[in-house]
Symmetry: C2
């Protein structure tokens, strides 16, 4: 163990022994070297004459750049477009994201949470969390409808034990009792990692305000009973709530800093919220309770995350961060984002309307949805993969087969005037497969 | 072990059992899921009517975007700027990079090497290689002047055992004998991971043509003696060769596909070669010998790398790849790059000239350098950290202290007309510290 890692572990242990106990072996080993980057940071302040520390090329006090590259940017300086960003991201963008979290999550007011760390997309925020906290064999609890990459990430890469509970209770709505039972039935686990992804991929379901409150209480009760909990709110689709009954905030806002044994983690980011998927800009935020200084605890965790970033990808896209920092500072962006949300909401409302048709009732059962990009249908007596292939080959329509019975439909990708036709084609395809099975 | 991983392992084992034997536990577990992405790829071909598979938002057959964001791009479509890139990168950019490798490394002609995989920077290419091949306790051999992040990456994250041999032989020049002895003295290791970084960070040294040939022979002899070797050519600074004696190609070009027991890995990328550090676009290329099909072996390795990318960051920056694919296709870029190289070369030549001054001889010994961004001085009887601080506080000049005696100077960051003054300030500072020590 390197001395800098020992020092960080000591701070975390002092500020919150439960958080320290949840660190993985890698999490315990991580630190941020006081080498080139620290010396460079010092030189940035003091080297008023010549700064010969930096690992890029400069010319006339500006970064070198090729005009063949820079011509594709507009309103960005070479420094904003081509230089390195700090390992944890541009300070200004991080501050703006923190303010955005407060603005969109009034329940965060007065709660303790860290300044978001910039990551290379939401997946990266998840894998950084796993670097610090997921040890081989650890229990990861999650609802049974989840993004397939969780398995590759938590299961295959980090070798956690994924245990799913049913997302929906029998009558529909989030299965708070299932979560409670699941937490209770793993009382032996020293730590439980819980992943809650709302708006949910694949179902498009998001918690109601009551469910969010009940869920927070269940989690806090588990902490009170002595369970160490890492609760990851995967808020990739945050903001895209279409039904007034959906809780318009993150569950993180109810959890952050509420119990010593509870480390709340929020992963989110501009990738989906600002419609810039390929930018690879995500955010990672912690909410915890410290014994003497929240800042000391968050700083120590941030140093470990910096080390995790540096040891795998060094740093994240600078031009993406520069564009986002500028765009988020503009007045019109809120209205532009609201306009896109309105378009998506109209599609969701159209899907709700179309799905009420009685002639679809014997073909499928839609899962509840009120948010996000997707909705799912549970096909009745039709194999999902056969359905997907038939639909694609005979009707030129693509959907995702998810398990034996479910298909996922991205209404985020279909204009509102085509929604009705889309579901009519799905119904036709389902009937064709039924007829073929009956005559076959 | 998932069935898809078993299948990939079977192919690798069939095509090259030595490469299979070098896989780490994680490397063996990795695969690329045939889930959402595979179904989406199929839909992209066949869903002529509606494609409701995709995980982004579309509007009028185009990706949604916020004008507040898009205004910072020039000549890029929304699809080029904001959508997801494939996990392994844009096919066109990958092909262009392969052609660039052939153009700049004539020794690659007729040799077997894979199509480069796009990574999120050179560090990411290194950590992906480690994901596949570095197991806890593995031996990583490297010259004793190396980029500090190797320790955090290979040592702390992957828990390899780093063993260094002296970079320079006593009279100067690359220590080929040291490499040979080092390989021989670890004959017991089932596999050896060797990292060779030329142009070198921190020293700015690059192999001469003779040294490159001797090094390749030493490596091939070790393979012939039954050692399984993973040889990583870290070519981050490729192309920046300033002295005609420096070998102008990558060592990878001499190693790729030359022996069954030798897996050559090239990590490089536009980040430094095209002066776009913050873009985070690197490249990862394999060179191996397969029993029946190089393509089958490379495809299987690529699927494992795809899984490693997806399980940690999902995919890499799309706008960076779009800009680079366009820029690399332009006529002027070669001339623009050559112009930047000329500027850096003039600085290197000026440094050589200044360093010949007899009055510096008792202050430091420069390490040989002929390439890259940096050069190093070995201070005589002066502590490097004390020197760095004195220089910064008293003279406003920043350099990197690297170990007890060495300082690294980035001439990449200092204009040619200031080089002489810079070294005079270094000399003044060194004499001041000497005088203070003598009187203290």
């Amino acid at each position: 163990m390197r001395p800098l890692a020992v020092e960080l572990n000591r701070i975390i242990e002092r500020e919150n022994p439960h958080v320290a106990a949840m660190l993985s072996d890698l999490g315990r080993r991580l630190y941020f070297p006081k080498g080139i980057l620290a010396q460079s940071a010092e030189a940035k302040q003091k080297a008023t004459r010549y700064d010969a520390t930096i690992g890029i090329a400069w010319e006339n006090r500006k970064p070198m750049f090729l005009p063949a590259v820079m011509q594709y940017f507009n309103g960005l300086s070479a420094a904003e477009a081509v230089t390195y960003a700090p390992a944890t991201g541009q300070p200004q963008l991080r501050r703006m994201w923190r303010e955005k979290l407060l603005r969109h999550n009034p329940a965060l007011e007065g709660k303790s949470f860290s300044t978001p760390i910039v990551t290379s997309g939401v997946t990266h925020a998840l894998s950084l969390t796993a670097d610090l906290f997921v040890q081989r064999g650890d229990l990861v609890l999650l609802p049974d409808k989840f993004w397939e990459n969780y398995e590759l990430l938590f299961g295959v890469r980090y070798q956690a034990r994924l245990v799913a509970f049913p997302l929906f209770r029998p009558g529909g709505g989030f299965n708070v009792d299932g979560l409670r039972q699941s937490l209770e039935s793993h009382a032996e686990a020293g730590k439980i990692i819980l992943i809650l992804n709302f708006p949910n991929n694949p179902t498009g379901y998001s918690l109601t305000a009551d469910e969010a409150e009940e869920t927070a209480v269940v989690i806090q009760q588990a902490a009170e009973k002595g369970r160490n909990l890492l609760v990851i709110s995967d808020d990739a689709y945050f903001g895209l709530f279409y039904h007034p009954a959906a809780f318009q905030q993150s569950l993180f806002a109810k959890l952050a800093g509420t119990h010593e044994r509870l480390l709340a983690v929020k992963v989110d980011g501009p990738t989906k919220e600002e419609f810039v998927w390929g930018f690879r800009t995500g955010m990672l935020t912690f909410g915890a309770k410290a014994s003497s200084s929240d800042k000391a605890l968050y700083d120590a965790l941030e140093m470990k995350v910096s080390g995790a970033i540096r040891s795998a990808i060094s740093n994240c896209s600078q031009p993406a961060q520069s564009v986002l920092a500028k765009a988020l500072a503009e007045q019109q962006i809120d209205q532009q984002r609201a306009e896109k949300k309105r378009i998506l909401q109209q599609r969701a409302e159209k899907v709700w309307e179309v799905l009420r048709r009685p002639e679809f009732a014997d073909l499928w059962e839609p899962y509840p949805f009120n948010a996000g990009y997707f909705m799912c249908l549970k096909l009745k007596g039709i194999d999902a993969e056969a359905f997907r292939k038939h639909l694609l080959d005979e009707h030129g329509v693509g959907v995702i087969a998810d398990g034996p019975h479910d298909i996922r439909v991205a209404f985020s990708a279909v204009d509102v005037e085509n929604i009705e036709e889309l579901y009519c084609i799905l119904a036709t395809a389902a009937r064709e497969l039924r007829a073929a099975a009956a005559s076959g």
